[in-house]
């Protein structure tokens, strides 16, 4: 092992550093495509909350309200306009009877579907990022400590992690959500639950790297120079074991989005009126034959987002592997 990222032949110098990695990702068309999708989804997620124009769309039929005003309206149903004004189950613009007012149509309450998809991106991205961040932080800390010290510390930590790992993720998250939320599920508990459920994979990935990195001479040299264990783990072990974790994290974001969508579909994730793709699928599946578009749009959104993260993750993996040089 010559460097962080793997085996190298004699005389071959590894290219390291962020600049090189990013340049490689840029040169990889599929990774770039994935990055575009992530960029679009992320900016949509951010702008759907702040852009006045888009927030008007959110209201669909109630385009006189902004989001800030719209949510209180829902909380006090008596202030709702009479049902006659709501155009429920509008088809998308290209189908018969569709209009540009609601490009993707409207849902069972007459709300604009495009704006709900866009708003749903915000939930999904937040869930993906935060849940993965939680799992990564916890997993890296546990895995690095277990791998570095070995012995009984390793045994205790890894057995604990394997207990979590042995429970199916969705079951774990549902049980966690129900218990912690005390019967009022919300997306925040889903994030926590998914974070905990992903700790095992991260800790196992980093531990396997740490086992080889801790044998490196520079770690021995740091110990011989009197560096504390904490700083050795923080400054020498983790940075040199991080590449595979980073790759896995990008893939994991997609998985987190998927699992929270599943959770919302089952009613344990985001609660109405907060739009979430999984929850939208739940509301739509009864309408599958009559209004198929209602199921297709959230599905497409989930598919594209996860595909984006997966493509980017694959590209990143290649970019971090010095044996593959574009």
């Amino acid at each position: 092992m010559a460097t962080t990222e793997g085996q190298l032949g004699d005389g071959e110098e590894p290219q390291v550093g962020w600049r090189h990695t990013l340049a490689q990702v840029r040169n990889d068309p599929t990774a770039r495509f994935g990055l575009y999708i992530i960029a679009i989804a992320t900016s949509v997620a951010i702008f759907s909350a702040v852009d006045a124009n888009l927030s008007r769309l959110t209201l669909g039929a109630y385009h006189d309200y902004t989001i800030g005003e719209w949510l209180p309206v829902l909380e006090n149903p008596e202030t709702l306009p009479p049902p006659g004004e709501m155009q429920t189950y509008q088809p998308p613009v290209f189908a018969e009877g569709g209009s540009w007012d609601n490009p993707l149509g409207t849902d069972q309450s007459g709300r604009d579907y495009l704006s709900r998809i866009i708003y749903g991106a915000r939930i999904s991205m937040a869930v993906g990022f935060f849940a993965t961040f939680l799992g990564l932080t916890g997993g890296v800390a546990i895995g690095a400590v277990a791998g570095y010290y070995g012995g009984w510390i390793d045994d205790v930590l890894m057995r604990f992690v394997e207990i979590i790992y042995s429970i199916p993720a969705l079951v774990l998250v549902i049980v966690f959500t129900v218990f912690v939320s005390g019967g009022n599920p919300d997306v925040i508990y889903a994030i926590l639950g998914v974070g905990i459920a992903t700790v095992p994979v991260f800790s196992r990935i980093i531990r396997s790297r740490v086992l080889s990195v801790r044998e490196m001479d520079y770690v021995e040299a740091a110990r011989a120079a009197g560096v504390t264990d904490r700083n050795i783990i923080r400054r020498h072990i983790i940075p040199n074991s991080f590449a595979p974790v980073l790759v896995y994290a990008t893939l994991q974001i997609g998985f987190a989005i998927l699992i929270v969508a599943g959770l919302s579909f089952l009613g344990y994730g985001a609660q109405p009126p907060t739009p979430d793709w999984g929850q939208m699928l739940n509301h739509a599946h009864g309408q599958m034959h009559v209004n198929p578009w209602m199921s297709i749009w959230p599905g497409v959104a989930i598919l594209l987002t996860i595909m984006g993260f997966n493509l980017f993750g694959d590209g990143l993996q290649d970019a971090l592997d010095p044996r593959i040089d574009n």
């Binding site: 092992m1 590894p14 390291v16 070995g150 120079a225």
Partner: protein, 377 residues
């Protein structure tokens, strides 16, 4: 050499408890290091050289364990045992805790330079960062001062334009340059003693020569003592003041470098010297030591070298050799065994009065269970 002794290793035993059995990697090793001198530890691969030196910093990892012996650095007890009533050995009260080892000894008193310069630098940090880290850790310097000191140290070890190379990463340096960086890191801690664990083995001969010259210069300038671990008698001759020859976990001969080379006593040292080319002697064919080193799990009885020794006699398999002074008769009183007055000592019963010369020689070396590698004709 009238300099004060700074490090004393006495009867050190470091064993590894593996599933195959107890590996007696270091089995009763004693030597000392004085101020401003370079002490060599020389021996074949697997002789226990590195284990002996890492024991000094107490960096032995599981399943290894220091089981006996004393290591004293100045007035600090790095390793020390006391015997309990039931005969077991337990660490003495005075022995430094792991925390004290870390804060008081490692780096700031005793630093170490490792063999492979390719792997001894962290690939994710610039070399300047790494030198600075060690300086900040072990000296009262920080921030800009530490940075400046790091640049000075890099210049000191011969890195051209250290200001510009400060932010370069290890992979942008050649092997020799990286080894210079490692020396800068060790020396930057301003230790009293540097353990150099085969630091030039991975380098080519030209670079090795440059590094040796550099170390000699810096050693004179900073007055640092060195323990120089190597398997190369040539390096020993070039830079060491005193030498310890190790074989299978034991020191078989020790003394000033001149005595070892010109008045070689132990058969192993003799064979070791015969197996390297020397410009001062005309040799048509080098004579390697027959066979390979036996396992340290079940080392040969009595003298551990008797299985490969050309001079072995039956007594060698029966009598545990002890150190005897074999130095020249320095004060001219006719007594060649001057004990404490002479540094040159060897653990071979040829020089002891325990019946070697009355004993029957073992058969020729080749007839014993020794494997030859390749054709020796």
């Amino acid at each position: 050499m009238s300099n004060e002794t700074i490090l004393e290793v006495d009867g050190l035993k470091t064993h590894f408890y593996t599933e195959q059995g107890v590996v007696r990697a270091v089995d009763g090793v004693s030597f000392d290091v004085r101020e401003r001198e370079i002490v060599g530890i020389v021996g074949e691969s697997g002789a226990g050289k590195s284990v002996a030196t890492t024991s000094i910093l107490r960096l032995i990892e599981e399943p290894g364990q220091i089981v006996d012996g004393e290591i004293t650095y100045r007035d600090l007890t790095i390793v020390g045992f006391e015997e309990q009533d039931d005969g077991t050995l337990t660490p003495r009260e005075a022995m430094l805790s792991n925390r004290e080892m870390r804060d008081q000894v490692r780096g700031n008193e005793i630093a170490i330079i490792f063999q492979d310069p390719m792997e001894s630098l962290n690939p994710v940090y610039s070399v300047g960062h790494q030198v600075t880290e060690f300086i900040e850790l072990n000296r009262e310097l920080s921030g800009g001062d530490a940075r400046q000191e790091a640049i000075d140290m890099l210049r000191e070890v011969g890195i051209p334009e250290p200001e510009n190379r400060f932010d370069d990463y290890p992979h942008e340096f050649s092997g020799g340059m990286r080894q210079r960086v490692l020396i800068a890191m060790a020396l930057g801690c301003r230790p009293t003693l540097i353990i150099a664990d085969e630091p030039t083995t991975a380098l080519d001969v030209t670079v090795e020569g440059q590094i040796l010259d550099l170390v000699k210069d810096l050693q004179t300038k900073y007055g640092t003592s060195f323990i120089w671990v190597t398997h190369d008698m040539g390096i020993v001759a070039e830079i060491c003041d005193r030498v310890n020859v190790m074989y299978l976990g034991e020191i078989v001969e020790q003394g000033p470098v001149d005595d070892i080379f010109h008045d070689t006593k132990h058969p192993y040292t003799q064979k070791l010297l015969e197996s390297i080319p020397r410009p001062d002697r005309t040799v048509t064919e080098l004579d390697p030591i027959a066979g390979t080193m036996p396992s340290a799990i079940n080392p040969p009885r009595a003298c551990r070298f008797h299985t490969r020794c050309p001079d072995a006699r039956v007594a060698c398999t029966e009598v545990e050799p002890r150190f005897v002074a074999v130095g020249n008769d320095a004060d001219g009183d006719g007594d060649e065994h001057e004990g404490e007055h002479n540094d040159h000592r060897t653990a071979c019963i040829k020089y002891d009065d325990v019946g070697y010369w009355d004993s029957v020689p073992l058969e020729k070396v080749g007839d014993r269970d020794i494997q030859y590698v390749g054709d020796r004709s």
